[in-house]
Amino acid sequence: MESLQLLLQGFETALSWNNLFYCAIGVLFGMLVGVLPGLGPAAGTAILLPLTYGLEPITAIIMLAGIYYGSMYGGTITSILINTPGEAASVITCLDGYPLAQQGRAGAALAIAAIGSFIGGTLSLIGLIIFGPIVANQVLKFGPPEFFALVVLGLTLLVALMGKSLIKGLIAALFGLSLAFIGQDPGSGYIRFSFGVTNLTSGIEFIAIAMGLFGFSEILFNIEKGLDNKNSTPAKIKGLLPKKEEWYPSLKAIGRGSGLGFVLGLIPGLNSVIPTMISYSMEKKMSKTPDRFGKGAIEGVAGPETANNAYSGSALIPLLTLGIPTSPTIAVLLGAFVMHGLTPGPTLYQTNPTVIWGIIASMFIGNLLLLIMNWPLAGVWAKITLVPFKILLPILLMVTIVGTFSIRNNLFDVLVMLIFGVIGYFFKKIDIPLAPVILTFVLGSVLEKTLVQSLTMFEGNFFEFFTRPISGVILAIAIISLLWSIYGGIRGKKVGVDDVEI
């Protein structure tokens, strides 16, 4: 009941003209990021982050959240109309979406994708409203050992699930953690690893690293593919509704996709591609006519599209309640929170309820705006893909450079962005995943601070972690997941996911 009251207050905040305007701008940019192949949600959010510098914190986060979930909608359009996924989560939509478009049923595919995305996104927000405050209240009882255990669990799950090689995943995670040590020690205030460089005494700027790893490196990858690269002309859209008999199976797929996406969004390291893949195979297995899949089955569009939007809503739960990001895009959002003077975590529900509930309310509005933008205006969005890369990429590069500079008005950050852009490019060349780098970098200071506090409490005895029930259980799960991953790696059966959500 209290949540409902706070949500209504959130709507009051979100429905102010200013916030409504920036929510619309956010989802508009998100759609653009989603529609443009080669620019994923993390890169898009990082590149567009500077646009929020002059805004109020709540308005800025509303806009950035809009970019995040908006991009999940946008990628669908190009998957269906030109068989080119705008972002990784929409890859699976090509399988049945494009065949439907070839049969002259692009309108039906787009309609079911938009409706599914809306329902999935809205249901996951309801989950966030119900579970968010409960989790936040419980987490308030946590001490440093429990937080340390939670961060370790998040990181081990990430390493266990991310990338094709466990060694490379671990190297990426430890590399990010090592970078996080640069600057002031959170315990003693001692300056570490600055190597006499004044700009390093305050540490490396997170946004500069994110812009480099996800923005600049993506630009380099697109340039490598060739500037003359062109997308094919979009298919024509006829009719905007599925057939009568298609509604029931589609709605069932949407229901399953919502549940699946919501649960998977809570697990660190699972990018938005996994819920779509599992949803697709689940729909195919549950279908009485699985041979239709790949040839234009509408459930093959409805399930995965719903799952990826449900995922994007529930992935905010660990961020808002624990302050722990579960994917690179969420890490960029965390950076945005910090940049605007807000610290996501359980206390945010107490100290800044207007911000939390305003953001949640804005996401309902954003989802509705996206439904309107997607459904009848899909054809217009598809035409954006015709903008040639040779015009787009130099503009994106300049925005990335200026955006990085404007973080602290410091040219050193541009140099950092450039270096990490090149690092990201070469890491991807040898399959070192980028997500663990950014996530461990973000969580590095929390990890170290809580470890130092805990060990001080325990007088240096590490095994005390296992004497506290919550930290003990969480650490045990972390160790088991890591051992399971090592075992899988040795047996050559590592269940890894590609580092694609960028």
Binding site: S178, K390, P394, I401, V402, L451, V452, L455, G460
Partner: protein, 149 residues
Amino acid sequence: MKNISIYISLVLLIFSGVMLFDSFKLEYGGDYGPGAGFLPVWVNGILFILTFILFIMSFKKDIRLIKDVLPQHKERLHLLITILSPILFLTTLNFLGFTLSSILVLFCLFVLSFKWYWSATFAFIVSIVIFFVFKELLSVPLPVNQFGW
């Protein structure tokens, strides 16, 4: 030595080695608990061991030839120019000011695909728009020349 994995793992090995070496200079433990060097020693130590394994693997298991991994001919040149463009921006910004530096960098990028006069036009328009958005709308204090742009 045409295997790119060797070079990347070697760079990582040097990085972790330097960080590990520097970690040893920090206090490992104090009277009240772990010191500033406690976690860095462990993290950089494990990173050093893992990058060493990766380095060894890159000779036998993880072979990726430069010619297969990096682009050839025109695309390689484009890639190089794109990497160098932020450096050009950084070196010219303080004396040319934002607008001229931006026009210069964008011209270098556009001219890879367009005729010089189109490149100059696009570079000019995009720079002015970015200058207006960041300087006027977002109030970002961009470095300017003596004329204020």
